[in-house]
């Protein structure tokens, strides 16, 4: 499966994941404490410069990851044009774009395995509540393994529906797909038990 980690190696790829996450938490907190549009504009420029250090291809991917935000840009932009509070609107949009871009930067420069390791380290105190790190690792691996399996099954269900009916399947794939997920879960549980259990 595709991950969001950038294949373009940058200097930030070599930093430890924990350090990057710590810095991200600090930077995001600072962004939300800033209110002046000039300061937020500067933060946005610094973030853009950060992306530029990764090269043109890296920066272009980063820009593409911001695309889902456009409806918010349009709505907030129009709203502030209408009310006339332009400086405030600019501050809100600069903060939003910078916060998301910084977080994306960390995702783009950290490998999935490193990130999963951090998630498991954070979840370690949960062992107190009966969620052992081993079980969490197993569950994550199961999800990643079963996503392509379920996508293919969903496609098969839709295809066999089309073979029987000239209409499109729409929501009718849902029951067989969910049923298949339940049956897969039962079978995977049996397989786990047969191999010594989930510990």
């Amino acid at each position: 499966m595709l991950t969001l980690t950038s294949p373009v190696e940058t200097w930030a790829h070599r930093l430890p994941a924990g350090l990057k996450l710590g810095l991200l938490a600090l930077a995001t907190t600072a962004l939300f404490l800033m209110a002046r549009p000039e300061a937020l504009g500067l933060a946005a420029l610094v973030t853009a410069a950060l992306y530029a250090t990764g090269g043109a291809r890296f920066a272009a991917t980063g820009a593409r990851l911001l695309r889902p935000l456009w409806p918010f840009l349009v709505i907030v932009g129009l709203w502030h044009l209408w009310t006339g509070a332009l400086a405030e609107g600019a501050a809100i949009l600069a903060r939003m774009l910078t916060a998301v871009a910084l977080a994306n930067f960390v995702t783009m420069t950290t490998r999935l395995t490193d990130m999963i390791e951090v998630v498991q380290r954070i979840a370690r105190p949960l062992a107190f509540f009966g969620l052992s790190p081993r079980r969490l690792a197993l569950a994550m691996a199961l999800v990643i393994r079963f996503i392509p399996v379920m996508l293919e099954r969903m496609d098969q269900i839709a295809q066999s529906w089309r073979a029987r009916s000239p209409r499109r399947p729409r929501w009718r794939v849902l029951v067989p797909a969910t049923l298949a997920a339940l049956d897969d879960a039962d079978r995977a549980a049996e397989a786990l038990r047969a191999r010594g259990g989930a510990g």
Binding site: V76, V100, A139, V175, L192
Partner: protein, 180 residues
């Protein structure tokens, strides 16, 4: 034990798959993805605790960098964006939905639909709209106006969640952990 774990994992995968399939046109002309339907199903089928854990597992993988949210979004950026309230609300919505199905004695189809409306829409919108209000610097009613655009699609999804849950109750009564 194993059964609990695999059900949680498989439903986390189901949330992802429902978000990845290109808008399976649940109904003609309504451009909605089925991801929030996945959240509702986690609650109605798995129950409160397992449902919420499945959603948390899904979110952990999204945060780790897998593009599993509808529209291929993912990574840490989505937790810094204006829709973060919805993400925070996802596990709570699944928990409330599951709790309601577990507690009522209504026929399972009706119980699941009502629970999906209360948990998957009411609770989720409370979190989502509050998140947008904070992130976009707007008042709550202003943000609510934005959130309402998704209401028709979500009501449809709650009805679908009820129908799917009822069918499962008929076909695999033992697998419906929320009523086991």
């Amino acid at each position: 034990m194993e059964r609990s774990l695999t059900h949680i994992a498989l439903f986390a995968a189901l949330i992802a798959v429902l978000g990845l399939i290109p808008k399976i046109d649940l109904a003609a002309g309504v451009p909605i993805t089925a991801q929030s339907l996945g959240i509702m199903l986690c609650g109605t089928v798995l129950g409160a605790r397992r449902g919420a854990l499945a959603v948390l597992l899904f979110l952990a993988l999204v945060a780790a960098g897998l593009p599993l949210l509808s529209g291929g979004r993912g990574g840490l950026g989505v937790f810094a964006g204006p829709s973060v309230g919805y993400l925070v609300g996802f596990p709570v919505a699944a928990f409330v939905t599951g709790w309601l199905v577990e507690r009522t004695t209504l026929p399972v189809g009706y119980a699941a639909t009502a629970a999906a409306v209360i948990g998957g829409i009411g609770v989720l919108y409370l979190f989502g709209i509050s998140g947008m209000a904070i992130m976009l610097g707007k008042t709550w009613p202003e943000a609510a106006l934005l959130g309402m655009a998704f209401l028709p699609g979500d009501i449809l999804k709650a009805v679908l969640a009820g129908m799917v849950t009822q069918s499962l109750a008929r076909m695999r009564p033992a697998s419906l952990l929320s009523r086991a």
